[in-house]
C-alpha cells in the first residue's frame, strides 16, 4: 500500500476510548482517501437528518494519500461532518502541516464520535494516544492553545515537530459560524464545523509521529515532482502573483471585471480599489511568504499588524478576507480588515460566514430595518470598528451578538426580510458577484457545500483564462465547466492537493505524479469519474438531509436587480436558466435527484436502493 497508511483511529469521546482500524483497499480504490473517504464514512455511519450538534453526529479528519509524500501542494487534510450552519454535509480543507503530520503519525483518518464529559484534547504523540482533560485550555485563543500545548511537553524539540488543530471560543460556544484553525491558518470552507467540534467538547487535536509514508516508484516520482515544480515556476500566476501577494492579487482584477461585491452585494464596483490593491497591501503589511507542506507556491502571507494585542501573529488578509470582511461590509481600511481576519483566526470564526452575516445586519441598519436599540450594537457599512466589535462579541457569544451569531439567514428571517440574505443553503456567498461571473454563479447555486468558490474554482477559466478562454458574463459551456471543476476539485481534495495549483498546472499533469506515487495506472478520466462519484454521494447525503432543487437557487437580488454600475453594469444572473442543463450533464432528473442510471455507472447503485425507501 503506497501513499495511504491504511490505518484509521476511531475515538469515542462518550466512552472515553479509542481503537485502531484498518481501512479496506476497496474503499480506497473507490473513494481515493481524503474528502472522498470521509464523505463515504459519514454517509454510511450517520443519519443525515441528525442534529448537527448532537453526539450522534461524527467528525472525520482525513488526509489524502498524496499528503506527506512530497507531491507538490500535497498538504491538505479534510474535516468532514454535518454542518451546524447549513445542515448539509461540510468539508473543510486544512492548510499548513497538520495533514502531513497526521500521516507521519501513522494514520490516514481520525473518526471522532460521541461527546466528552468535559473539555479534552486528543493527543497522538509518537503512537501514544491520549484523551487528556483540557479544562485549562477552554476559552483560550487558538494560538494560545497551540503554545500552551507545546510548552507543556517536557521535550522542547518534540514541540518543533508537533502540530495542532483547535477551535477558539466561537467553536466552544457552539456559534454556527465557527471554524477550525491549525498552525494559525484559517481553514477553507469550515463554517459550521467549529461548533460541531465544540459540541463534542473537543478543544484540539495534537499530532506528531515517526512513521514513513511510502511512494511506489520513488525515482520516477522524484522526477515528476521536479518537473511540476519547474512548471509551476514558469507559470506567471503561480510563480509571481500568488507568490508575491497570495490570493489578494485578485482584488484589483475582480474589481476591473465588476465581480467584487460591495456592501452586501448591493454594488459590484468600487472606485477606490487602489486603497486595497496589491501595492497598498504590501505597504500596509510587511509581507513574508509561508508555504503549506511541500508547496512551491507559498501563497500564504504573514504580516505584522501594528496592534498591541495580536502583534506579529497574523496572516495578511487574503482575497476572501478583503472581500468578505472588508468590501462587502463597505470597509476599505486594510488594517481594520487585517485585524478582523486575525480575530477570526484567533477566536475561530469563519471569515466568509461571519463577514456575510455582519454585512447582512449592516444592510438592515442602513435601510432602517434594524434599530440600534433592538440589536444594541452599531453596525454601519464602512465602519471597521463596528465590524471588529461585532466579531468579538459573536465569538464570545456576548449580549445581542448571540442573535447575530446565528448567521445571516437566521437574522434576515428574524427581522422580516429573508430576501436580504445573500447566500445559498444557509451559507453566505463567497465574495464574487454571481451576476458578473455566470459559471461561478451556477456553482454557488448547486454546490454541495454551499456557495464557496474553492469547491469549483471556475474563475481560473472564466477570468484568468488559464486552461480555456471563456468570458465571465456568458453562459455558453458553463454547465459543463461547472461540472468539470466540481469533479476535479473533489478528486484533488480527496488526494490532498491544493486547488490553487490549477492556476499553473492542468489537471492532466498531476496524473503521472499520482500514479508513480500510488502505484496505480489511472487515466485522467478514471479520476474524474471518481470525482463525480464523490459529488453524487454528497448530493445524496444532502437530499436525505432534506435539500432539493428548491435549495439550488441564488438569492432573488441576483435575478431581479441588474448590476447598477461599473464594468459589469446591466448583468444579471442566469443560473436558473442553466440549472436544467447542469442537471442534464450530471444525469440527474429535473428535481435534482441522481438517476438510477448514473448511480449505476458510478457504482453507487446499492445506495440508490436505500434512497428509494
Amino acid at each position: 500500500m503506497y501513499g495511504w497508511t491504511g490505518r484509521c483511529l476511531r475515538v469515542n469521546l462518550t466512552k472515553n476510548d479509542f481503537q485502531l482500524e484498518e481501512i479496506s483497499q476497496e474503499l480506497m480504490n473507490k473513494f481515493l482517501g481524503g474528502r472522498g473517504l470521509g464523505v463515504k464514512i459519514l454517509y454510511d455511519e450517520i443519519d443525515p437528518t441528525v442534529d448537527s450538534l448532537s453526539p450522534d453526529n461524527k467528525l472525520i479528519f482525513v488526509s489524502g494519500p498524496l499528503v506527506g509524500t512530497g507531491a507538490v501542494t500535497g498538504a491538505s487534510c479534510n474535516v468532514i461532518t454535518k454542518s451546524a450552519l447549513s445542515g448539509t454535509i461540510a468539508c473543510a480543507k486544512l492548510r499548513g502541516h497538520f495533514g502531513a503530520e497526521l500521516k507521519y503519525s501513522g494514520l490516514d483518518m481520525i473518526i471522532v464520535e460521541g461527546k466528552a464529559e468535559f473539555p479534552v484534547i486528543l493527543s497522538i504523540m509518537d503512537d501514544k494516544i491520549v484523551i487528556q482533560p483540557a479544562l485549562e485550555y477552554w476559552g483560550r485563543t487558538t494560538s494560545e492553545t497551540e503554545n500552551m500545548f507545546k510548552n507543556s511537553l517536557s521535550d522542547k524539540w518534540a514541540a518543533c515537530d508537533t502540530y495542532l488543530l483547535s477551535i477558539g471560543s466561537a467553536g466552544e460556544k457552539l456559534v454556527p459560524l465557527a471554524n477550525v484553525i491549525n498552525d494559525g491558518f484559517l481553514s477553507v470552507g469550515a463554517a459550521g464545523i467549529g461548533a460541531v467540534m465544540g459540541s463534542k467538547n473537543l478543544k484540539a487535536i495534537a499530532v506528531k509521529g515517526n512513521h514513513s509514508v511510502t511512494v511506489a516508484d520513488g525515482n520516477r516520482f522524484v522526477q515528476v515532482v521536479t518537473t511540476l515544480i519547474n512548471k509551476l515556476n514558469s507559470a506567471s500566476l503561480t510563480s509571481q502573483s500568488m507568490s508575491s501577494w497570495g490570493s489578494a492579487f485578485l482584488v484589483g482584477l475582480c474589481n476591473q471585471k465588476g465581480i467584487l461585491p460591495f456592501k452586501n452585494f448591493q454594488r459590484s464596483s468600487f472606485e477606490e480599489s487602489k486603497q486595497i490593491g496589491t501595492e497598498a497591501l504590501s505597504s500596509a503589511f510587511a509581507l513574508r511568504s509561508r508555504g503549506c507542506f511541500a508547496c512551491p507556491i507559498a501563497c500564504i502571507k504573514k504580516t505584522d499588524v501594528n496592534n498591541p494585542i495580536f502583534k506579529g501573529k497574523g496572516m495578511a488578509p487574503t482575497y476572501l478576507a478583503i472581500g468578505a470582511l472588508g468590501l462587502n461590509c463597505g470597509i476599505t481600511d486594510l488594517t481594520d480588515i487585517g485585524m478582523a481576519n486575525m480575530i477570526c483566526a484567533e477566536m475561530g470564526l469563519d471569515p466568509i460566514a461571519s463577514g456575510g452575516t455582519i454585512a447582512t445586519a449592516m444592510e438592515f441598519s442602513e435601510k432602517g430595518l434594524l434599530s440600534k436599540d433592538s440589536i444594541k450594537l452599531d453596525l454601519r457599512f464602512g465602519h471597521g470598528k463596528d465590524l471588529i466589535h461585532a466579531l468579538t462579541l459573536i465569538a464570545t457569544k456576548k449580549g445581542h451578538a448571540i442573535r447575530i451569531g446565528q448567521g445571516a439567514k437566521a437574522i434576515s428571517e428574524e427581522y422580516g426580510h429573508p430576501e436580504l440574505f445573500m447566500g445559498v443553503k444557509n451559507i453566505p456567498l463567497a465574495p464574487f458577484d454571481p451576476r458578473a461571473i455566470q459559471g461561478m454563479g451556477l456553482h454557488f447555486a448547486t454546490s454541495n457545500y454551499g456557495p464557496h468558490h474553492l469547491y469549483a474554482y471556475t474563475f481560473i477559466d472564466e477570468v484568468l483564462n488559464v486552461h480555456e478562454k471563456l468570458e465571465p458574463w456568458t453562459i455558453e459551456g458553463k454547465p459543463e465547466l461547472v461540472k468539470r471543476f466540481q469533479d476535479i476539485t473533489a478528486v484533488m481534495d480527496s488526494l490532498g492537493l491544493c486547488n490553487w495549483s490549477l492556476m499553473g498546472l492542468k489537471f492532466n499533469s498531476f496524473v503521472p505524479m499520482i500514479n508513480s506515487c500510488l502505484g496505480t495506472s489511472y487515466k485522467a478520466e478514471d479520476l474524474l469519474q471518481t470525482g463525480e462519484r464523490i459529488w453524487n454521494l454528497e448530493r445524496l447525503f444532502n437530499m436525505r438531509a432534506g435539500f432539493n432543487r428548491s435549495h439550488d437557487i441564488l438569492p432573488e437580488r441576483f435575478y431581479n436587480e441588474h448590476i447598477a454600475d461599473g464594468p459589469a453594469k446591466g448583468q444579471i444572473s442566469k443560473a436558473n436558466e442553466m440549472l436544467d442543463d447542469y442537471y442534464g450533464f450530471r444525469g440527474w432528473d429535473n428535481k435534482g435527484q441522481p438517476s438510477a442510471k448514473i448511480l449505476k455507472a458510478l457504482e453507487l447503485e446499492e445506495i440508490y436502493g436505500e434512497d428509494k425507501n
Binding site: 507521519y104 524539540w157 518543533c160 509514508v213 515544480i229 508555504g291
Partner: protein, 124 residues
C-alpha cells in the same frame, strides 16, 4: 568547492527540502525524521539546518543568536545532533545522519526542490 548557501529570510517553511532529502536516500520513503536537513521554526522565522557530524556530548555552554530585535537559541541552527538536540538520528536504527551532499550534480536534492531561493548552490 561547492557549498549550500542558506538564506533563512527567504524560507517559507514548506519543508519540501526535508522530503527531497528523505526520498533521495531511501527510494520511495518520505519521512522528515529521516532527512538530513530540517527546518526549525521559531516565532515567525524558519531556519533550515543541514546535518553535520554527530557528537555524543552536549555543549557545556549555551549561545544566543541575535537577529534584528529577536534573540534565538543558537541550538536551532547548530548542525550537530547531540544528546541535547536529538535530531538527525534515524528513529528505528539510532544511526546518526549526516548530509552527504547527495543528488545529481550540480544540484543537491534539497536545493532542487527548494523553490523559494532559501537554499542555493554556490561555488567558490
Amino acid at each position: 568547492m561547492a557549498r549550500i548557501k542558506i538564506d533563512h529570510t527567504k524560507c517559507t517553511g514548506c519543508r519540501h527540502c526535508e522530503i527531497a532529502c528523505s526520498l533521495n536516500h531511501v527510494a520511495g520513503v518520505a519521512n522528515p525524521r529521516r532527512a538530513r536537513i530540517r527546518v526549525f521554526r521559531e516565532g515567525t522565522t524558519y531556519f533550515p539546518t543541514i546535518a553535520g557530524p554527530f557528537v555524543d556530548a552536549a555543549c557545556t555552554s549555551k549561545n544566543d543568536l541575535i537577529i534584528g530585535d529577536q534573540t534565538y537559541n543558537m541550538c536551532l541552527i547548530c548542525r550537530a545532533s547531540c544528546p541535547e538536540k536529538p535530531f538527525f538520528i534515524e528513529a528505528e536504527t539510532g544511526i546518526p545522519l549526516k548530509c552527504d551532499f547527495c543528488g545529481i550534480p550540480p544540484s543537491p536534492s534539497c536545493v532542487t526542490w527548494c523553490n523559494s531561493g532559501a537554499l542555493e548552490l554556490v561555488e567558490d
